[in-house]
Amino acid sequence: MSAQPAGAAAAGHGEPGPQESGPGEPLDRFEALVAAGEAVEPRDWMPDGYRRMMIRQIAQHAHSEIIGMQPEGAWLTRAPSLHRKSVLIAKVQDEAGHGLYLYSAAETLGVDRAELLDALHRGQQRASATFNHPALTWADTGTIAWLTDGAAVINQAPLCRTSYGPYARAMRRVCQEEAFHVRQGYDLMRALCEGTPEQKAMAQDAVNRWWLPAVALMFGPPDTEAGGADARTAALGAAVSRRAMAWGIKRHTNDELRGRFVDACVPQAERLGLTLPDPAIRWNEERGHYDFTPVDWDVYRQALGEETHWARQRIAHRLAAHEEGAWVREAAAAYAARAQAGEPPVAQAAGASGPGRTEERA
């Protein structure tokens, strides 16, 4: 039972920031703090834009964990061995835990989880579009763990040093677990690749379908001209990245991280005997990195659109669970409210006169 609520670590660290009584205007103090590489804490003054960017990023990350449970969760009942079933349950459970840490980190910025979930359900906030793809076979669970969690680790490792303290602390924990998921995913793929020809074909098929979502959607839009399709979008992406980097929210461009991901995956795929579905992948001696096909911004925009079957399906699944569980949450809230008010819980139960005497409510 490891469901330590995320906030415990994040919100508990609430001592005033070192700059609180320092000289100068709040903005100067904030910028000095970030420039010194120190953590911004919930009670520190911060620019509205920083707060909004932080809420947006943490919420999107939290939503991605929760929505990301679905494609793998769909295979829990079909895992082909009890060992793999246990591993997958543990992984999906970790994702729920990450969602909790992250919503709690967002709550330190003055929003609450219910609001954020409503925004997700109403389509005002999004989860990563990576998960708007279906998990069609068992091999998809391994591919998701190996490739999309692998992408997540590369994305998230620098976030362990991001400027907002509660987010950075949540990420340290998340990253450790994600790194483990990547290894489990690779191990699952290795078993398939060493299995029957049909198993290996299933693995290759899954990689064919998940490579592009991982390489494109996990890292965000291109933000350098080399990585993007045209100069205008690259400039736009670069502006957003620059601001996030100035505030210490991000530490690398999207394209830099994307390149790191490809560098990590190519030799792994070779060891597995799988082909990554990009004929342009080849070692560039001069750069010391792999070349690959730049992400097509139009493809990216299309995939982001909500009007796809799976984008709708993910939200519909989430919303159905939320609505069907409303009476449970109301009951828990009513029970907690009475307990907090110090009322004996039975007092509220109509006509209850003691154990086993409440037939009229049955």
Binding site: R78, A96, W138, R329, A362
Partner: protein, 266 residues
């Protein structure tokens, strides 16, 4: 290969063969496997994220119990079948779980009611198993009892919140209890397989933990403003492989990938 219960003879290589004990452990393992499978169906559909987490945690423990029990069963029945052989290659008619564990999830209250019945039974039975003479079984019983104590706490807590929450939750919780209570009796049944094992002191008697199970569940149900149902019938058949119609699809789903790839390694 000899078939007996006690004293336990050792086959070639020191492996004890005891067909009755193997059947009993298979039943316990099937209970855990099938209930774990049902709980997996909740994940991503729970009333809140904390419950997705709690139910997956419980499912994970149950699959862990199933793995140990099926492995032991396959070893001591002399067939050398692995946990996966037993989980993924038997037909639904060969599963021996109690009917309680395969009941469809229903609403959250029905699931809590099913958990209440099972966890109070499993906590008592595993605790008793923890004191048996066989060191391997005793070690398993002790570990499983500790884990099930948390599952029981989870069931008790939700029975209380729902029983004493809102009129709607109380109505649903009572309906859940009424639905599952007829399925409790089968957990405590002793038949020609179990009686000799119990008589020889190889394993504890399920029937002997029933009075305490009744007292404890009645205490929880009563304190939550609910009524202990008094069913006029009791469901039986799971131990003999006679399951519900829905069970065939549960097993088909469980085994679908494994069966789709003959000779596959995972």
């Amino acid at each position: 290969m000899t078939t007996t219960t006690d004293p336990a003879p050792r086959a070639e290589g020191g492996v004890r063969v005891d067909v009755h004990l193997a059947v009993h452990l298979l039943r316990l393992g099937d209970d855990a496997l099938v209930l774990g499978q049902r709980l997996c169906q909740w994940i991503t559909r729970a009333p809140d994220i904390e419950e997705d987490l709690a139910l997956s945690n419980i499912a994970l423990d149950l699959i862990g119990h199933a793995r140990t029990l099926l492995t032991l069963s396959g070893r001591i029945d002399g067939t050398e079948r692995s946990e996966d052989d037993l989980a993924f290659t038997r037909s639904d008619r060969e599963f021996t779980n109690a009917l309680l564990t395969e009941l469809p999830n229903g609403d959250f209250a029905a699931t809590v009611a099913r958990q209440l019945v099972y966890t109070h039974y499993a906590a008592l039975y595993y605790e008793a198993l923890g004191g048996c003479a066989d060191p391997e079984l005793a070690a398993f019983g002790q570990r499983a009892a500790k884990e099930v104590a948390f599952h029981r706490l989870h069931a008790d807590t939700w029975t209380e919140r729902l029983g004493l929450g809102t009129p709607e939750s109380a109505r649903r919780m009572q309906r859940g209890l009424v639905r599952v209570w007829p399925y409790a009796a089968e957990l405590f049944d002793e038949d020609e397989v179990l009686r000799p094992l119990v008589a020889a002191g190889t394993v504890p008697s399920p029937a002997s933990v029933r009075p305490l199970w009744e007292r404890r569940t009645a205490e929880v149900v009563g304190r939550c403003g609910l009524t202990v149902p008094t069913p006029r019938w009791q469901a039986r058949g799971g131990r003999a492989g006679l399951h519900s119609e829905e069970f065939a699809s549960l097993v088909a789903e469980l085994q679908s990938v494994h069966r789709q790839f003959p000779g596959g390694t995972w």
